[in-house]
Amino acid sequence: MRQSVALPRGVQFKPRVGAPSRRRRPKLNARLYVGLSIIAIFILSSFLLPLLNSVDPAEQGTYLKNLPISGRHLLGTTALGQDIFWFLVTAIRNSLLLGVGVSLGVTVISTFLGLSAGFIGGWYERIVVIFIDTFITIPVLPILIVVGALVRGNTSFAIVGVILICFGWAWNARTIRSMALSLREREFVNMARFSGASTMDIIYREIFPYVYAYMVVGFINTILFAINTEAALAVIGLSKVQVPTLGSIIFWALNYNALMIGQTAWIIAPIAASVVLFLGLFLTSTGYNQLFAERRGVA
């Protein structure tokens, strides 16, 4: 019969009352508000607005060429007879889709490889690290330019995305791996082991929460990277420029000397949109960083 050991009188044993509950909702800081608002506006407008438009904005010759800004054409028309405003809206949507798609792929791959390599160690880690380091040292833009030149618009948009994933995952994987390496030595990992957790349990429940903050920030930064790189390629003409993206608008606008022919909106609008979108992403990324730091008590 097990009796509990009676402890001396005069004892207050409640765990510190009044200690605040951990899971209070995080207070968003100013940066995060602005950043998330910008992104929300972009996402909502680029996905919902096209529902109001029945015309394919990429089709050339829909309207008269080079029309100025008016009530009908909010930003005018291009030299190919497309409505700039609707083209831009579709472009933003496609860029965002690409960005998020690439980011998802990159985050999943880099987190999985980084965590498993850092935690499991041994020969598995060595092979993965060689893999990661190889991909890191490959210079992205020159390779993409070469590939783009070879392929010259004959690829699908999806392939562009896949190529971006291939070159984007390595850096994050490396960082996550080093985080996992140091986390592996922490005492609570041993505690979890002695509580019967398997390796997968430990990676998911013990180590992942510490990596989570980095992942969120990494996710947003990768969106930036993807949209940026695609735009760079498109401007040079190496992406699939028939598909409206932020980069491809600029490409066409440059090609047709938009400034010269007086269609300033054609080139200014996408640039302005890119800048604001990037600003939004950047503010969100640093805002989250700050939020996580505050939660940890380091800010």
Binding site: A6, P8, R9, V11, Q12, F13, G18
Partner: protein, 364 residues
């Protein structure tokens, strides 16, 4: 004579203000080693910071003052406001961790010549330092090394050397040996005692280790929940404490050769955000009465040179008597369910309490 005049030290945080030291009022005589003991969070490190003059946001000496008992070069009395100018000259500080206090990328000698008093004559200063550290058992080349090249014990001796080099009148040591092994600790403590005897200055030593206090200090101050609860000669503190907290503190330490059962101090100190009314130790005190829970006891002199902040200070010696009759550990260990109960009844706390209230009533 260092005079702490109702010192109140406040931390300003997001949650508000909290008094880490809440009214410490006593005098520290010259030429001796004072020990400050207490649980973590009692305010001893904060008090050290205040005495050292290391107050800057968020720590603030919000009330009271510290008078150091000497004048500065210009003949003005030194107080908390201008003590900073005397750092390392007339007051110095030995921190807990030598590794975080020594710049890891420069050789140690740079730290000796780093402050205005010594940077004027570097070569001369370094010569003096080399001679000085030999007294501390270090080879003269030690200051030409990088911190990581020396062992923990040697580094802590360097910290002691830095703190004593200019022969300051007050040396503050905040747990300087806590991170060291017990053999090295003994060396450093003996060193400090020797230096103090030679320089005849005041050393204020903070530690949670009562054994270290017993060996090193002449007088002791016990702190609890931001207050000073007892202040007396070390010998008296251990022989006949006049505060229940001190008694329970000294009694919760097993010693080799002593087979009596002991009980740790259950519960925790009150939150300083909402300190209880009355005596702060009352929730955990075996002698607590309604008086204790409503009226806060002041630090009063119950015997010559012995101060205690307890309404029933005179009854504590009796409490010590009964604790001394605790059963042998081997007798109670066989039946663990009774282990605590037996010790408690052995303490005969009910009786002690009765006795205590009986003694105090006629006195009032």
């Amino acid at each position: 004579m260092i005079k702490l005049d109702n010192v109140v030290a406040t931390y300003t945080t997001q949650r508000g203000h909290v008094n880490a030291v809440d009214g410490v009022d006593l005098e520290i005589p010259d030429s001796m080693i004072l020990g400050i003991a207490g649980e973590s969070g009692c305010g001893k490190s904060t008090l050290m910071k205040v005495i050292y003059g290391d107050t800057g946001f968020p720590l603030d000496l919000s009330a009271g003052s510290v008078n150091y008992g000497f004048d500065n070069d210009r003949g003005q009395p030194v107080t908390s406001k201008n003590i900073q100018k005397e750092w390392f000259k007339r007051i110095s500080y030995i921190p807990q961790s030598s590794m975080s206090s020594l710049n890891p990328v420069v050789r140690i000698r740079h730290q000796f010549t780093d402050y205005p008093a010594t940077s004027k004559n570097k070569a001369e200063t370094l010569e003096q330092v080399r001679t000085f550290i030999q007294k501390l058992g270090l080879p003269p080349e030690a200051i030409d090394a990088y911190p990581h090249q020396l062992s923990g014990g040697m580094r802590q001796r360097i910290m002691v050397a830095m703190a004593t080099f200019q022969q300051p009148e007050i040396i503050l040591a905040d747990e300087p040996t806590t991170a060291l092994d017990v053999v090295v600790q003994k060396d450093i403590l003996m060193l400090l005692m020797e230096l103090q005897k030679e320089m005849k200055n005041t050393i204020i030593f903070v530690s949670h280790d009562m054994g270290v206090h017993y060996q090193l200090t002449d007088r002791m101050m016990i702190m609890y929940a931001a207050k000073a609860v007892e202040y007396a000669d070390t010998a008296d503190i251990f022989r006949e404490p006049l505060h229940p907290y001190t008694l329970m503190l000294t009694n919760s330490l097993p010693t080799i050769g002593d087979d009596r059962a002991r009980a740790g101090l259950p519960g925790s100190p009150p939150s300083l955000w909402e300190p209880p009314v009355g005596c702060r130790f009352a929730p955990r005190c075996p002698l607590a009465t309604d008086l204790c829970r409503t009226v806060e006891p002041q630090l009063a002199q119950h015997r010559p040179g012995r101060f205690s902040a307890c309404h029933y200070a005179e009854s504590v010696p009796q409490l010590k008597e009964t604790i001394g009759h605790a059963p042998r550990l081997s007798d109670v260990a066989k039946d663990p369910a009774k282990l605590f109960a037996d010790v408690e009844s052995a303490l005969k706390l009910d009786e002690a309490l009765e006795l205590a209230t009986k003694v105090e009533e006629p006195a009032r």
